[in-house]
Amino acid sequence: MTQAITAHERDAVPEVTRLATGERGGAPGITSEADRPPDPQELRDDQVDGPELTARLAKTWGTEKGLIGALSTVDHKVIGRRFIVTAIIFLFLGGLSAVVMRLQLAQPENNLVGPDLYNQLFTMHGVTMMFLFGVPIGEAFAVYLVPLMVGTRNIGFPRLNAFSYYVYLFGGLMIWVAFMRNIGPDVGWFAYVPLSGPEFSPGKRADVWAQMITFTEVSGIAIAISTVVTAFKLRAPGMTLDRIPLFVWAELVNSFVIIFALPAVVTASAFLLMDRLIGTHIFNPAEGGDALLYQHLFWFFGHPEVYIIFLPATGWVSAIVVTFARRQVFGYIPLVLSLIATGFLSFGLWVHHMFTTGLPQLGASFFTASSMLIAIPNGIQIFCWIATLWDGRPVFRAPLLFVIGFFFIFVAGGLSGIMLASVPLDTQVHDTFFVVAHFHYVLIGGNVFPLIGAIYYWFPKFTGRMMSERLGKWHFGLAFIGFNVAFFPMHITGLMGMPRRVYTYMPEMGWANLNMISTIGAVLFFGSFLLFLHNIVASARRGALAGPNPWNAGTLEWAAASPPMPQNFDRIPVVTNREPLWAHRDTLPVVAGLSVENREQIVSTVTAGRADLRETTPEPSIWPFLTAIATTILFIGSMFTPWAFVWGTPPLALALIGWFWPKPSTEDEK
């Protein structure tokens, strides 16, 4: 083999001018407080080292004990951990509702659940999987891992991040409590008008759906912005754009898609709420409105949504493939470009969900072309990963197994997606179980399998303990078989004419056997997750200790302790390679000079990643939690009366002032 990079080259740390800007903070000619030399009394990390440094930093960055402390924390790892756990609880709830549905469909004319409950169940399943699991899980991983991977100590806006978590949690609780009280939405996760409109959805069920959207989207957009700022401004010195880990790229592109796609669903659900509650006519054809406007708005979000769920998974796959192929990724630039291309293209596909609504033909064909075109960036990604494995030395541990499962399932789902992109074929398979099969192949294949891989992969980082490899392999086998047994037959049931969202079917339709097989598969698949749950709980208690870098991976999160200390890193690393830990095996180049007593972190430039500022980041605060409570009261109140905006605003405003008002003890007064 010819050596492309010599060991010497990759270890070389560039001169200071390429690592730091050296610019002043204030405007030219102005004596700014920003440029004041740091307080000589304050202890800095170039004065202390070793365990003492670790301990002092841990005290500065730590979270206080007790309930108030727990609710005030702004540590991205604590919030991220709660986020991941909450999203996975919702995954189980969503899965449970799916199992009930599958049991109902196991036989024709089954009476396990009636149409009313069935409609609520499939709505809750869709809503939970899409809004309470699919989107948040990607963001949750971003919250935990992006700061670690870019080598900083906290996420961009820590308090906003904490607030977002609580808003998401309250939104999810609201809809599940509503469901348990028989106010669960029963209009499908897409809630098409007029079915979800004021005339055909009496009561509060559809309002609960619409307001849950507001909760999760406020939270989603806020986290996306925090993630973008973290990836743009808080990268370790030397982390140029082409050294950003692919996972961070994926989360970055994902965040951009979120920022531009989620407003569409908020618009749609806000319009729906207004139609329902204050009598606007946006979707009322008799008064100049139009029902299809809703579908356009919804799918303008709804298709990017699929990529919002898929993009983080590409990050997980990239990370796992590289570590377990024991080779740096093949085609870094094409991979990044195809991520970005996917992000852009995802906004040009929404009409393929509306091919049967009677839209003009030529327009529809345009969307056929654009929908099929997305095969190109996805193809590039798949091929680059396969190439990385090809030239690597794959290590078959549970994370890689799940990624291999991902390839099998996701590629199949992507290919059946090509059929759906074709207008004529779509007229036959649209809204049938074929589509159900297709998007479960895409979403479970494209998100859940990589996610499970990611959990096996990062679990040692989160908890400091390894998960059981033996159970992991059993889990994989069961999940893979269960999944295919459950969902492959649905392609056929759909082609045989079984529409989606039916609570039962008649024996003479001839769908009974296939449905029975699907149900058996679904139970098996759910069972594999119980095994997974057991593995998580048992390993978290008794798993083998992991150490900081159990997989001998190359990215920065493995340079922190497992689980990471509150400060993440004792000193901010300096990055000279895409895989810093592979490039620097003996010593880690770092920045010194940050405060040990205050929460200082490095702010760097967007493209070159040069260190620019040493900014303080917010202290823990209870106000984000209180703001989330005030927001919840306002949102829930506004489902009942528009006056909630009047009486709900003062507490919200107060909470926000509390949030932003500087504490007497902060840096200002020192």
Binding site: R181, E199, F200, L277, N284
Partner: protein, 186 residues
């Protein structure tokens, strides 16, 4: 900490929410024999007529699904023909506070079932009892005599004015004027 959160939630969840129940099958309780409602508030003696209300009315007028079904039947059975969208035409207005024959749901059920002088036909045996209750519940919602959260929103139709849920809560004042159009000698 989670336990403290979960417990009240579970307790809360167990208290079923009747406003959102969807009962399709006719309630056998709707049989008219269960209710004893005076046609007129007159009786011998000072205490007013003896009445028996089964309490069934609450089940209908506090349930969004029943009210919405009533709204549907109100159009289907052409109540609009005389009462318009509740504003009244040849029949009295239904969205005001005045009720000639009593404004409780039981009275309205009786009015629909038995008919009234001056033009209100009897729908006995024409409309099943449970649907009469649903229509009556909807009629109650016109004057916002039902909980706001159960009252219907606007329809996907030409807008006649603010929907039932947006009207201020009404009172029920017994005794009203027969509209001039209905006072004409038949």
């Amino acid at each position: 900490m989670k336990v403290y959160l979960v417990l009240p939630l579970v307790a809360f969840a167990l208290a079923a929410c009747e406003r959102e129940d969807r009962e399709y099958r006719a309630n056998p309780m709707t049989a008219e024999s269960q209710e004893k409602i005076a046609l007129v508030p007159l009786s011998a003696g000072p205490s007013g007529p003896t009445e028996y209300r089964s309490g069934l009315g609450k089940e209908y007028e506090e349930n969004a699904f029943h009210i919405s079904q009533g709204q549907r039947f109100y159009t289907w059975f052409n109540c609009n023909g005389c009462h318009a969208n509740g504003g009244g035409g040849s029949g009295p207005a239904l969205m005001d506070d005045r009720w000639i024959y009593g404004g409780q749901i039981e009275n309205i059920v009786q009015t629909i079932r038995e008919g009234r002088p001056n033009g209100m036909p009897s729908f006995r045996r024409k409309i099943p009892d449970d649907q009469i209750w649903e229509i009556a519940a909807y009629v109650r919602s016109m004057g916002r005599n039902v909980p706001k959260a159960a009252a219907p929103g606007r329809k996907d139709d030409m807008s006649p004015g603010p929907a039932e849920q947006r009207r201020p809560p009404g009172q029920v004042i017994d005794g009203g004027q027969v509209p001039p159009s209905a006072q004409m000698p038949q």
